[in-house]
């Protein structure tokens, strides 16, 4: 038995009635960070002793995503990260086998598919979750090989009847489930007692979206093609949702051209402060430096630096919008110098989650973890300004 303390969910701000799509600055790590931070809302990060990331869209297969994930979540360097390829059953199995202090994150960001992320924190106190049954079978109607090529056998009835149908039959459940994760809403409804809530995704993140949508405890089915895990949740744990209203995907263009160069030495020096949103604090006068530097901006001291967390809210001091084609970056995009609240520190950041050009001087927003560029194949993570909803819908002055 596992105890679920909290659930956090995240949906990208882009898309329409058919579902959400990721922004150009989002990937499985940024989505996972957003959901994980929602799940940890208020919880002490020191209580997290392990992270499991389940997705089929790992940004790097070689090179590692764990440090970026820990950085974005604000977790210490000694927390083990498991990067797992899988769907909803893998998330169910990770949760059911997890020790207290484990953050299990499921992320979906498939090419052309439904994007979203959810995370569950396993703890000492909360909602009991137990295994009802598990069946692992093979009927790969949809497949994807390591070269990224997806194939569809194109036989939905075979998939429905012999795939999921076969799995449900094998599970031999005593009661009908309250929700089925991993299949479209219509197919889920056919298998459920009552009318389950429509879920925003069908992959790894769908299970905790399903649990979060429950009105009472009961059996939930985590499925992926011909495999399924059935679990029973005692009741509904607290849910924190980071699910902004969906906006239509703005028009943008990408220009072919040279890749953005990267110096990995410079990347490594900046990595911790850049991903953890930390300034260096002068031991002599307390001045904050972003980025960290050898000699204090204010008093000239050259030693005694410590790191200090930066505020994640601020106001736009100046902002511009780049329309001209820039190879490797989707245009247009807005760049802003943001005055962070109450610390006398400004940051130069990209604007995210708003149509380019819609943010003006004086608008407020929060700083969120995003992938600002991909440089010669390496994701470059940093913080971007997510304008407050009111700001993003008014015409900017820039």
């Amino acid at each position: 038995m596992t105890v679920l303390t909290a659930i956090g969910t995240y949906l990208p701000p882009w898309g329409g009635p058919k579902g959400r799509v990721p922004g150009p600055d989002e990937d499985a790590v940024t989505l996972g960070v957003a959901a994980g931070r929602a799940a940890l809302d208020g919880a002490s990060p020191t209580g997290v002793r392990a992270v499991v990331l389940v997705t089929r869209e790992l940004p790097l297969l070689v090179g590692g995503n764990g440090a970026a994930l820990l950085g974005g979540l604000g977790l210490p360097h000694d927390v083990p990260v498991t990067e797992q390829v899988g769907g909803a059953p893998a998330v169910a199995d990770a949760l059911l086998g997890a020790a207290p202090g484990t953050l299990v994150i499921g992320v979906d960001v498939p090419e052309g598919g439904l994007a979203g992320a959810s995370a569950g924190l396993v703890g000492e106190r909360g909602v009991a979750v137990e295994t009802v049954g598990r069946v692992v079978r093979s009927l790969p109607v949809e497949s994807r090989t390591p070269d990224g090529v997806s194939r569809d056998y194109a036989d939905p009835r075979l998939s429905r009847e012999r795939g999921l149908g076969g799995a449900v039959e094998a599970l031999d459940l005593a009661d009908k489930p309250l929700a089925v994760a991993g299949v479209p809403a219509k197919q889920a409804a056919a298998l459920c007692a009552g009318a389950p809530a429509a879920l925003p995704t069908v992959g790894a993140s769908s299970l905790l979206f399903a649990v979060a949508a429950l009105e009472q405890g009961g059996v939930v089915l985590a499925t992926e093609q011909a495999s399924a895990t059935a679990l029973r949740v005692e009741s509904v744990p607290p849910v924190v949702r980071d699910e902004p209203t969906a906006q239509p995907v703005p028009r943008s263009s990408t220009t072919p051209g040279p890749e953005i160069a990267i110096s990995l030495a410079s990347y490594e020096r900046a990595f911790e402060a850049k991903l953890r949103w930390e300034a260096a604090k002068c031991g002599s006068c307390g001045t904050l430096a972003l980025p960290a530097r050898f000699r204090c901006l204010e008093c000239g001291a050259e030693e005694g630096w410590s790191s200090a967390a930066l505020p994640r809210t601020g106001e736009v001091y100046t902002v511009v919008t780049v329309h001209v084609p820039v190879p490797g970056l989707p245009t247009p995009y807005s760049l802003a110098v943001v005055e962070l609240d109450d610390v006398g520190v400004r940051a130069l950041v990209k604007v995210t989650g708003a149509v380019a050009g819609k943010v003006g001087i004086g608008d407020r927003g929060r700083l969120v973890f995003r992938r600002v560029a991909v440089r010669t194949g390496i994701p470059d993570y940093a913080y971007a300004l997510l304008p407050e909803p009111a700001a993003a819908t008014t015409e900017g002055s820039a």
């Binding site: 220009t255 051209g257 040279p258 953005i260 160069a261 990267i262 110096s263 410079s266 990347y267 020096r269 900046a270 850049k274 972003l290 980025p291 901006l297 001091y317 100046t318 902002v319 511009v320 919008t321 780049v322 329309h323 001209v324 084609p325 820039v326 190879p327 490797g328 970056l329 995009y333 760049l335 110098v337 520190v345 400004r346 940051a347 130069l348 950041v349 990209k350 050009g357 001087i361 600002v372 560029a373 440089r375 470059d380 940093a382 002055s397 820039a398």
Partner: protein, 386 residues
């Protein structure tokens, strides 16, 4: 310090010189400079050279100048100070001549922006002046650097996009008679406002073109000036100023502190004030930068630039003509050459031989700002010995 005079000035046209390398443009500019020396130049007189250049596909900068100009027996120093390179090369040569170390010094500036493909220029040139971890990957392309300042300036000052357009209109008009200018056509305020957006608030006509070119000056000590001309132009003041490199660390982005520092030093050395400047070549890589620079150079009070451009004060014929050559905006902007070419223009203005002559100009100023906005160099030139 000894007085220093300019006795020769020359430049190539600024253009897309696809057919010419830096190896060709440099000797062309030097030969034109030599031909401009009233009483002639024996190249054996040149004792040292300073060469301003940011980047080239032709190889090692100082060696290229020595090799292509047949100056193999003198020291050549490469100067690189972002967009302030040209006027900084002038400053260094002025110190060498003024100190008595050499009597005759050559200053050359050159660059070829069009050696990069049009679409890769941003990344290749941005890599030289951005923090590679914090700023570069955000897509802080050159126009964005300046637009961040100008957006705030438009927010705080009475200036509007129309005032930016007026700068473009003026400088395009000024370039018309200049045979060395890259963009020799007039535009209207409406055309500038309607042009495709580059980096809001800048449209296409708010931006300098991508240019190739070279320029050269001959600086000599007052002791030997009579050997070369009876109409010298004196280098009365030079100045260089710096600021925090990252925009995040610049507290007031409606002004360029490097310019304020550089011009203060140059005015003090020259013993002049802004009121004494009859003609100026100001760094208008983007239109709004010219407006902010009016204020930083002391041509008007803070936030008074909109009024100045609106009333035509800075047009040729006005009380404080700025960029009679067309400026970077219309003459062009090969960075290493730009400051040197500004001095070529001012020398011609002060000798009464400019293509777009300001009547009776006796004292002039050349100004660069760059890096992206963390360095400025200013040169004050005068027909009066002082």
């Amino acid at each position: 310090m000894r007085r220093v005079a300019v006795v020769g000035a020359g430049m190539t046209p600024f253009a897309e010189h696809f057919g010419l390398g830096v190896k060709d443009l440099v000797p062309m500019a030097v030969s034109e400079m030599a031909a401009h020396v009233d009483k002639g130049l024996d190249r054996a007189d040149i004792q040292a050279a300073w060469f301003g250049e940011l980047s080239s596909t032709d190889g090692f900068a100082a060696g290229i100048l020595a090799d292509t100009c047949g100056l193999l027996d003198i020291p050549v120093t490469h100067v690189e100070n972002a967009c302030a390179t040209g006027n900084d090369a002038v400053r260094n040569a002025t110190y060498a001549v003024g100190s008595g170390a050499v009597d005759v010094a050559l200053v050359v500036g050159a660059d070829k922006v069009r050696e990069s493909s049009a679409r890769s220029t941003f990344w290749e040139w941005a890599a030289m002046t951005r923090d590679q971890a914090w700023d570069y990957p955000l897509g802080l392309v050159a126009p964005a650097n300046f637009a961040l300042h100008v957006a705030r300036y438009l927010h705080e000052s009475p200036a509007t996009r129309e005032h930016l357009a007026m700068v473009a209109v003026k400088n395009h008009k000024h370039a018309l008679p200049n045979p060395k200018a890259q963009l020799r056509f007039e535009i209207t305020v409406q055309q500038a406002l309607d042009a495709p957006r580059v980096v809001e608030p800048f449209g296409l006509y708010d931006c300098t073109p991508q240019s190739d070119g070279a320029a050269a000056l001959l600086l000599v000590a007052e002791d030997v000036v009579d050997r070369y001309t009876d109409r010298p132009v004196w280098v009365r003041g030079v100045g260089l100023g710096l600021d925090r490199v990252m925009h995040q660390h610049k507290r007031d982005m409606t002004t360029f502190p490097p310019t304020v520092k550089a011009v203060k030093a140059a005015y003090a050395m020259a013993g002049v004030t802004a009121a004494d400047i009859d003609v100026a070549e100001v760094h208008d890589c983007f239109t709004g930068v010219e407006l902010i620079s009016y204020e930083d150079l002391g041509f008007c009070e803070r936030f008074g630039a909109a009024d100045l451009i609106e009333k035509g004060v800075t047009a040729v014929g006005g009380a404080k003509p700025v960029n009679p050559s067309g400026g970077l905006k219309a003459k062009g902007h090969p960075p290493g050459a730009t400051g040197v070419a500004q001095c070529v223009e001012i020398v011609e203005q002060l000798r009464g031989e400019a293509a777009n002559q300001v009547d009776g100009a006796r004292t002039g100023l050349a100004h660069n700002i760059g890096g992206p906005t963390a360095v400025s160099a200013v040169t004050v030139l005068s027909s009066e010995r002082g």
